[in-house]
């Protein structure tokens, strides 16, 4: 030993404390700088004119992002409508129906979906989904529908893995009890297991929403980015994330501040969703 081991232990401990605190520091910095840049405009233009305003023309002093808030929620719910049933049924299949070997193959395969970069999803959306929507359903193709389909696929891994965990954590005795009383497998799943795993499944949906609402690159490629509330699923739309990504590179002055205000709204929504989801997951365990 080169120097006093007790002193060395103490030194190590303090270094580790600093490391652990770094996460908090980063979180603090992220909040501080996004809020620091984003809040002044709320003061200047008015909270109502931003959050409930319909017109986004930042160079002319209009910072309304209401259509984007609505659009963000629309694509998120659209993604959930497509991703939730698919994801939950995959989770049920994996946990209740598939054999051990099948599981060893399927689970990593499904999780690999999470590894595909969002630009690739966006690109394939543009090349395959958008034309299908345009040719067979209508509109330009760049639409709420196409965006929802791509986002629905993108949130599958989140929904599958968290639902799967919560279904697996339902005690075996529940299953055996129900089967012993003559229920079929599906009745057991439907009446016993799913209710028992309810809060974890809901949490998986909410985390999926969090992923969808925060998704950016795929969305700006497929959504069409129009500055209005879509009136049908075939209309184009612009989300909060899209607004930031499309304009940040060249925005200056109040325009840039407006993008940070958009970021503030997005950050608040995400935090609320995460809080609810964590609450659901904690209650399960």
């Amino acid at each position: 030993m080169t120097n006093n081991p007790i002193r060395k232990e103490r030194f190590v401990k303090w270094v580790l404390v600093v490391f652990a605190l770094s996460s908090l520091l980063f979180l603090f910095l992220i909040f501080m700088f996004i809020f620091f840049e984003g809040l002044p405009l709320f003061h200047k233009v008015g909270l109502k004119n931003i959050i409930l305003g319909f017109k986004w023309a930042p160079t002319k002093g209009f910072f309304g992002i209401f259509p984007m808030i609505v659009s963000s929620f629309l694509v998120t719910f659209g993604a959930l409508v497509i991703g939730a049933p698919m994801g939950l049924s995959c989770a049920i299949y994996l946990s209740e129906y598939s054999g051990k070997k099948m599981k060893m193959f399927l689970k990593p395969a499904l999780e690999l979906l999470a590894g595909i970069p969002s630009v690739v999803y966006g690109f394939l959306g543009v090349v395959y989904i958008v034309p299908i929507v345009r040719d067979h359903i209508g509109g330009s193709g760049f639409s709420l529908l196409a965006t929802s389909i791509i986002l629905g696929i993108m949130i599958l891994p989140t929904i599958i893995s968290i639902s799967f965990d919560s279904i697996m954590s339902v005690p075996k005795t529940y299953r055996e009890g129900s089967l012993a009383m003559g229920a079929t497998k599906w009745q057991t799943i439907y009446k016993v297991i799913l209710p028992a795993a309810r809060s974890g499944i809901l949490a998986s949906f909410i985390l999926g929403m969090g992923r969808a609402i925060g998704e950016t690159m795929a969305v700006i490629m497929i959504a069409g980015n129009a500055l209005k509330i879509p009136s049908s699923i075939l209309d184009p739309l612009r989300t909060l994330t899209g607004n930031i990504a499309l304009e940040l590179a060249y925005a200056t002055g109040d325009h840039r501040l407006g993008l940070f205000s958009t970021g503030v709204v997005l950050l608040v929504i995400i935090m609320i969703l995460n809080y609810i989801a964590n609450f659901g997951i904690k209650r399960r365990t």
Binding site: S23, M86, P117, V120, F123, T216, M217, A245
Partner: protein
């Protein structure tokens, strides 16, 4: 009219089966499209040549190098920070309000979408700290972004090391730090590597957080203060600005195949880590 429950049962079984294979089918189709469409354009020259005319001609070498620089440097920073945090949370403290706050911080970081990392990195590193669009700004942003993944997987891996091994090490007169470095970490390494590989995969595919911090210069970054672009950013610009579909597919192939290989390696390591104690 009541439907026979046995019939419903059978129907559901078939339905779920189809559903699961449909979902895996999506993955297969995505990979297949990228492979078939990209394959004709990927060759030695594509990988090692410099792009010309915005990327319309030539290869993607600077973006491959840019990706490697960005990812390696981020991992180099995030790994000690993340593993250190995990060691602190598991070995050096008991569950308390303090650890709850740190865990809350880590969870919150994990939930922040990448565009907000981009927004933060842009205002903090690029503008306020005057780094400009640079490799350094990109590295620091990505480091923060992948930190939660590394912390969580390392924590799981460290927790899975049997307590007995620690007790034996202490009984042989090891200090806490000696026990951590000589017994706990060696046993936890496959799990920690899994987290690192998953983070590498995420960083390689990241676009939103990179494009506003590292920028999108087509040149090969030769210093920390140079701008540059990653494969993901290059692909995005090729595809979005319609520069060249062929080059876009080729870039996508290199991008997706490297991410898949990285993730498969991660799962392989994870299985190895799990089978270690069971």
């Amino acid at each position: 009219m009541r439907i026979n429950p046995r019939f419903t049962n059978k129907l559901v079984h078939i339905g779920l089966n189809l559903q699961a294979f449909f979902t895996v089918g999506i993955l297969v189709i995505i990979v297949a499209i990228i492979c078939f469409k990209g394959f004709p354009y990927v060759n030695f020259e594509f990988i090692f040549a410099y792009p010309q005319d915005m990327g319309r001609i030539g290869g993607i070498f600077p973006s491959i190098a840019g990706t490697i620089f960005l990812v390696l440097l981020s991992i180099l920073l995030a790994t000690p920070l993340g593993v250190g945090t995990a060691i602190f949370l598991t070995e050096y403290t008991k569950e308390s309000v303090f650890t709850k706050i740190i865990r809350f911080g880590v969870e919150s970081l994990a939930g922040i979408p990448s565009i907000l990392y981009g927004l933060f990195g842009f205002i903090f590193f690029v503008i306020k700290l005057k780094m400009g669009w640079s490799l350094l700004a990109g590295v620091l942003t990505i480091t923060i972004m992948i930190l939660p993944t590394i912390i969580r997987t390392s924590e799981e891996a460290i927790k899975a090391v049997p307590r007995n091994l620690r007790i034996v090490s202490y009984s042989l007169s090891a200090t806490k730090w000696e026990t951590v470095t000589k017994v706990v970490l060696p046993s936890a390494i496959p799990g920690i590597l899994t987290g690192i590989m998953l983070s590498v995969g995420r960083a390689v595919g990241e676009t939103a957080a990179v494009i506003f911090t590292m920028g999108s210069s087509l040149r090969l970054p030769t210093s920390l203060f140079d701008s540059g672009r990653t494969m993901a950013v290059h692909f995005y610009i090729l595809a979005r600005e319609g520069i060249s579909m062929e080059k876009a597919y080729g870039t996508a192939l290199v991008l997706v195949v490297s991410i898949l290989l990285i993730n498969i390696l991660a799962y392989y390591l994870m299985n190895k880590a799990i089978s270690r104690y069971s």
